[in-house]
Structure formats: C-alpha cells, structure tokens
C-alpha cells in the first residue's frame, strides 16, 4: 500500500531545519473556521480545504488555521474569523472556496479587510 515514507518526512525535516532560522517566530495571522454541524453542512470543509490548498501552494508558514464550533450564527455559515497580530478580529460570513482565497490574499497577506464578505467591522461600542 502507498505510504507516507520515513524518507519523505526526513526530507521535510531537513528542509525545515535549514529554513527555521530565517523565520522570525510567531504567527502573522490566525484563521478560525467554524466547524459546527451547521458550518460543516453548509460547506465549511470546502472553505478550509481551499485555504489549506492555497497556503500549501504558496508555502505560507506563518498563518495558523484552527477549527472551532458553532458561533451562534448558523444562517450565515460557513464563517471564518481572521485575526492579524495586534489587530481586531474580523468575522467573515457566507464563505466559499473562492472567497476565502481572496481573504487570504487581500486581508491576511496585504492587510486590507475584504469588506464585502465581512459581517461587521469595528467594535460594538456602547457609549
């Protein structure tokens, strides 16, 4: 049966150790994909898969992707929350594979929020 061979992993390890010193450490951004039953049923896996594909294609090592449960806005799923270092988090709604790629390029890499897909921008102020 085809396997992930030890040689494959060794090669990756060597490459990683060679480039690890170049990394500044810490992550540029954290993306949380909401993977509750509602999210999965409306296509969250496709969204996350598209993001992983793009990140592996471009070999981006300082963006971390995590999954979380339902965020309580099931009708707006699939959703993702993007947090850039030292910036307020932005929630994106009604996503698909193409939209998340655009968010990766424009928001995460270029730092410009993709307003058309965002749920809301700014803090909820009570004053």
């Amino acid at each position: 049966m085809p396997k992930l061979t030890i040689e494959d992993l060794k090669k990756i390890k060597e490459n990683y150790q060679a480039t690890a010193t170049l990394r500044e450490g810490g992550f540029r951004a954290k993306v949380t994909i909401h993977m509750g039953t509602c999210g999965i049923a409306s296509g969250a896996r496709k969204v996350m898969s598209a993001l992983i594909d793009e990140i592996t294609r471009q070999n981006i090592t300082d963006v971390t992707i995590v999954t979380s449960g339902c965020a309580g806005l099931c009708s707006r799923e699939p959703m993702a929350t993007v947090e850039l270092a030292e910036k307020s988090p932005v929630k994106y709604v009604n996503l698909d594979g193409e939209k998340i790629k655009k968010i990766l390029l424009e928001h995460i890499i270029d730092g410009k929020i993709v307003e058309e897909y965002a749920l809301g921008i700014g803090n909820e102020a009570t004053y």
């Binding site: 396997k3 992993l9 039953t37 496709k46 992983i52 592996t56 999954t67």
Partner: protein, 203 residues
C-alpha cells in the same frame, strides 16, 4: 414569462465523510487528545461500519440518552445539537444503526453501521479532505485512521508521523502536502479495488 427560481445550493451532511468530520469535532470539543477513526467496508456481510473512538471526557448515561434527541445539546451558544441525531438518521435510512458506548471521564466510542448496498446509503465521500482538515486544524490532537475494504487496508497514525518529524510542526505546509498525498493515494487504491470471487483485490 416564468421567473427563474433562484438556485439554492444544496446543503446538508450529504455524505459519510462529512458526518465523520462532525463527530470528530465533537470528540475534540470533549477534550480528546487521541481520536481513532476506522472505516470498514465489508462487501460479504454487506456492511459499512464507521467507528470513531476518543479519549475525551465521555458522557454520562443521561447525556447518551439525550444525545439521540435532536433538541438536546451540551453547548451553551445555541440550543440545538444535531450531529449525533443526524448520523443516527443516516444510518437508519440505510437499515443500520448508531451505537454509543461512553464512560464518563474515559472517552466515547461511536459506531454507525449501514447496509452497504442499500439504495439510500450515503456515499462515503471525500475522506482525504476530512482527514487533512482535521489534522491541519487540530495539530495537537493525534489521529489514527484506518480504512479497510475486505482484505485491503491502509492506515495513517499522526503520532508516528510526529515522532519522525521531531521539531517540525505537523501543520507545516510541506507536511500537510505530504499527508494529503498519502491519503489521496490510499483512498484511491481502496476505491479502485476490484471485486472478484474472493472479494476485493488490489488491481
């Protein structure tokens, strides 16, 4: 002139790989550090068995009973948990059933069976995508994946991969790419397995 109806993309847990994704997310929410996923395709017994076991916090008898009730959830964000009832329904539609064995504080094992040839059995779907998303999204959780089709099987254990990788994170793009490739190959071989008089054989 007839107005064209707006096209609504069909949504739902339309294949078994999405159900698996959903149940494993439950395991992770329950604090599991190691999740075993086993798929057995047994053409002779005409059975498809999906088994997910974890070392999460487990459920009390009462919670198990309630788990089959679509209007019960332990979550506080919203009031309705649908994961297990939906899987139970999918199994039932294909003359199968859902069994939950759980020990409070020890872990949970969810087993769903389906009649393999049943016309209403959902397709297995894209297991590569499910596993890659789970591994990349939860690098601190260990996954043991086994897929068996009669005498043919393959498995992948992220704990062993981590040992080999040493200080390289498992969610590093290069590693994820390699894992994706391994799953793709494994799933393809299983899917393409031909049936002969002795059952499935590798072609």
């Amino acid at each position: 002139m007839i107005k064209t109806p707006c096209i609504v993309e069909q949504v739902g847990l339309e294949d078994i790989s999405l159900h698996i994704m959903d149940i494993v997310e439950n395991s992770i929410c329950a604090g599991a550090k190691r999740v075993k996923i086993q798929i057995i395709e047994d053409k002779h017994k005409d059975l498809l068995i999906v088994e997910i076991s974890d070392d999460g916090k487990g459920m009390t008898e009462e919670i198990i009973k309630d788990a089959f009730d679509p209007f019960f959830t332990t979550k506080t964000v919203h009031q309705v948990g649908l994961g297990l009832p939906l899987l139970a329904q999918s199994a039932k539609e294909a003359e199968g059933e859902l069994r939950i064995v759980s020990k409070h504080g020890k872990g949970t094992k969810v087993t769903a069976t389906f009649k393999y040839s049943h016309v209403d059995r959902k397709p297995l779907g894209n297991m590569t995508e499910t596993m890659v998303v789970l591994i990349a999204g939860n690098p601190s959780v260990d996954f043991l994946y086994k897929h068996k089709k009669d005498r043919l099987d393959y498995s992948l254990d992220t704990r062993r991969i981590k040992v080999e990788l040493e200080n390289v994170p498992i969610d590093h793009p290069e590693v994820i790419k390699a894992i994706q490739k391994a799953f793709d190959k494994g799933e393809r071989v299983i899917k393409d397995a031909k049936i002969n008089h002795r059952g499935f054989e590798k072609d």
